[in-house]
């Protein structure tokens, strides 16, 4: 039995380490000392112990829930906001995942970040991130979750842009921040919607209402969709997936912790957390399932062709997150087919997706750390510059292969078990999606082993790696990484093997709330009484074999194949022209039309009508002003003027506008109209007076005709 104060401590310890490192260590100690790392590691390992303790306690509980006394944070008129923790099986599992991976990454970083000028800053942000991630997991009210949700986004912004002297990093940071904020907007809207309809932010209460049908119909659907929008942003699902690959500009441990194991999984967690809201709306669940499945295959295709080791893993992350979403959605559909939805069942339905999250966290973090370790030796992520590293870095090779096998879903590694469950439930509910993800299984096995063979087998193709590093300025020669980096990888590898066993006996499902248990042996082998696992294994094996045939044994030449599938290859490698699409087409078509129309209207109706009779000078000024405005828009829209438009920032400025995707559409549109309106501020005192006068007249007219 664990005391509630200790549970609070889980979240508070990283906060303390953040405060200590940022306020006291960073100004005083010079970046070569490792003190900051030790502080952070101690704090996080302490909270890891506490989280394990919590997990055990929760397991012991009959209803797998822990009541933690909450307290009122502030009272606004009739609304009281209470801060409290929600400790159930979901939280407990996530706690363990986050603290374990975070601890591993922190230890690894001791080696990886050593000697970096921003060493202390790195650990400060890392602690802050861990703290806020734990906050997201443990919060019991949507508002609080949003609070930490934003903090998590902020940390990821700061950590992606950690090497801000690289414009690419700076822009990736910006892009990630803004794109995810688009999703967050939906999330916030959903929160407000729920609050206006129910008057509460408290999640358990919302669950009750959703299940009992107090909250239903379009409101529920829209709320669910809004929440899912937030999840899409954070978990880089289909329309908003553009930021995650660029986010790889950050330090590799950051990618491992934030953009593989925890933060991107927060989207999945959010959906799981609010799952009772989803299951009661067919639309919502279907959307989740479809988006998930589509993202899975969509990202996998792009993963096939990337030459940057880290980006392949990044795309595989997106695709795996798609799996989790699919798992959730399909489980929800299955639940709906059975009918009779209870709160326990609804919560338990999330088990499948969460189980995959649980396993994925370990092997994906492992893969990233492996990539980092390779980069540490070769100073590059470009796989065309690698090869033959198996002999040089055996540990990295072994662990990486384990991770790859687990990702490919090979029996009996962890990836196999969770993926199998997802496939099974999809098979029961949605055959179309099932075929999609089956294809994805093939691609997954192929691209990850393409990485393995390109990197570790054959001959070393890289130039003399003594040149200046991509991430590290100190020169290196090919070598196995230091033990401090290898140890975490080994631990993660072990986890990647065994973490799947938890549910062999069905105890994970049982722990999540519902499911019958079976004996270990029957679970381990009895699974092959169904045809599905066979198919899955065969497909995965085929993928690995193809990879071996092409990149390992070179029976087939990659060039020839690439030639045969040239169109596909181009499409994939250009990422379906998504960024270009976002940038040009939408801007040109939509923007041009409406901004133009709007400005015309202003010019003719308001200005002429009002200014007539009064001082002519004013009118001409205003006219010129608006014409300039429209002119600006024309130039801006075909991009010829963007640099000048904000000569604000000298060098980075250009890049700030190349944040592509939806951002550009909005930003350009708004700035364009801003430029236009700006011109109405002519500095002519009397125009200002005139506007006041017109304002009065307008108000009176409105009052009389509308009021």
């Amino acid at each position: 039995m664990i005391a509630s104060e200790l549970i609070w401590l889980i979240f508070l310890l990283p906060v303390f380490s953040f405060i200590i490192v940022s306020l006291f260590i960073r100004p005083s100690v010079k970046p070569t000392s490792k003190i900051a790392g030790y502080i952070t590691i101690t704090a996080i390992s302490a909270s890891l112990v506490l989280s394990l303790w919590t997990l055990l306690t929760v397991m012991a509980e009959p209803k797998h829930e822990l009541a933690v006394p909450d307290f009122s944070w502030l009272t606004v008129g009739d609304l009281t906001i209470r801060i409290g923790l929600m400790i159930d099986s979901l939280t407990a599992v996530m706690l363990v995942v986050v603290t374990v991976v975070s601890l591993m990454v922190q230890i690894y970083s001791q080696g990886y970040m050593h000697g970096d000028p921003g060493y202390h800053r790195y650990y400060a942000w890392m602690s802050l991130f861990t703290a806020s991630m734990l906050g997201v997991i443990m919060a019991n009210s949507l508002l609080l979750i949003f609070f930490f949700w934003e903090l998590v986004g902020l940390c990821s912004y700061l950590l992606i842009g950690f090497w801000f002297h690289r414009p690419a990093a700076a822009n990736a940071a910006k892009k990630a921040f803004v794109v995810t904020r688009l999703g967050d907007f939906g999330f916030l809207a959903a929160i407000l919607l729920l609050y206006t309809n129910t008057g509460t932010f408290n999640i358990p209460e919302l669950h009750e209402m959703a299940i009992t049908g107090v909250l239903a119909g379009t409101t529920l659907t829209w709320a669910a969709i809004g929440i899912f929008a937030g999840a899409i942003g954070k978990s880089a699902q289909f329309p908003l997936h553009v930021w995650l690959p660029d986010a790889m500009e950050g330090p590799t441990p950051v990618s491992a912790l934030i953009h593989a194991a925890t933060m991107v999984a927060a989207g999945v967690f959010l959906v799981a957390r609010t799952f009772p809201l989803f299951v009661n709306s067919a639309t919502a669940v279907t959307i989740v399932a479809v988006i998930g499945a589509f993202t899975a295959i969509f990202a996998a295709t792009m993963g096939l062709v990337m030459n940057d080791m880290k980006r392949v893993v990044a795309y595989s992350t997106i695709s795996q997150l798609g799996y989790m979403m699919l798992g959730l959605g399909a489980a929800g559909l299955a639940l709906r087919q059975e009918g009779h939805v209870t709160l326990e069942l609804a919560k338990a339905a999330a088990a499948i997706g969460i189980f995959h999250l649980f396993n994925h966290a370990f092997f994906k973090a492992l893969l990233f750390l492996g990539a980092g370790s390779v980069n540490h030796a070769t100073n590059t992520f470009d796989m065309r510059q690698m090869g033959g590293l198996r002999k040089v870095m055996p540990w990295t090779y072994a662990t990486f292969v384990i991770g790859a096998l687990s990702l490919a879903g090979i029996w009996p590694l962890s990836g196999f078990w969770s993926k199998d469950e997802i496939l099974a439930v999809t098979w029961d509910t949605q055959r179309v999606l099932f075929t999609l993800v089956m294809i994805t299984v093939l691609m997954t096995a192929f691209y990850i082993f393409r990485v393995v063979f390109l990197t570790f087998s054959g001959q070393y193709r890289g130039s003399d790696p003594g040149s200046h590093g991509q991430e590290h300025d100190h020169t290196t020669h090919l070598h196995e990484s230091s033990p401090v980096m290898v140890a975490p990888m080994v631990i993660l590898a072990i986890l990647a093997i065994i973490s799947g066993f938890w549910n062999i006996t069905g105890s994970f499902d049982a722990f999540m709330g519902h499911g019958e248990t079976r004996s270990f042996a029957s679970g381990l082998f009895g699974i092959f009484t169904h045809p599905l696992p066979w198919i899955a294994l065969l497909v995965a094996g085929l993928g690995i074999f193809l990879a071996y045939a092409i990149y390992g044994a070179k029976w087939l030449s990659a060039e020839r194949i690439g030639h045969i599938f040239r169109p596909l290859y181009i499409i994939f490698s250009r990422k379906y022209w998504f960024d270009e699409l976002y940038e040009n087409v939408i801007v040109k078509l939509i923007l041009l039309k409406w901004v133009f129309a709007a400005l015309e209207k202003i010019d003719t109706k308001v200005v002429d009508g009002a200014v007539n009779g009064l001082a002519n000078t004013v009118r001409t000024i205003y006219r010129i002003a608006l014409l300039n405005g429209i002119f600006d828009i024309l130039q801006r829209v075909d991009g010829t003027k963007i640099e000048k438009a904000n000569g604000v920032i000298k060098e980075p400025n250009k890049n700030w506008w190349q944040v592509d995707g939806i951002v550009n559409v909005m930003a350009n549109g708004v700035t364009a109209s801003g430029e236009a309106l700006k011109k109405t501020q002519t500095g002519q005192l009397q125009l200002y007076g005139l506007v006041i006068g017109l304002g009065v007249v307008a108000i009176i007219l409105v009052l009389y005709f509308a009021g």
């Binding site: 009064l614 001082a615 000078t617 004013v618 700006k678 011109k679 501020q681 002519t682 500095g683 002519q684 005192l685 009397q686 007076g689 005139l690 006068g693």
Partner: protein, 103 residues
Amino acid sequence: MSVGLEHYLILSAALFSIGFYGALAKKNAIIILMCIELMINAVNIAMAAFSRYSVPVLLTGQVFIIFIIVVAAAEVAVGLAIIMNIYRSRETTETDKIDLMKW
């Protein structure tokens, strides 16, 4: 027919509008200042008339007017100072030439 409240109000409204127009149409800062004074005095007329017609026994309106006059005087003082200032730095008081800051 007798001269009633509305006559005063019409007068004050007319003066007010004239002042406002002048304030917007004239270019010389000092003339604009005068126009503003005109607006304020139009208000004074209205005040006096209201006070006389709606609360004959009290002097509220008149007292109000006294304060308005005082504040207006102070306003003129500050205004003239500022205009002198800008004349010193720009050698002009034409408001349409005073647009260093815009956009």
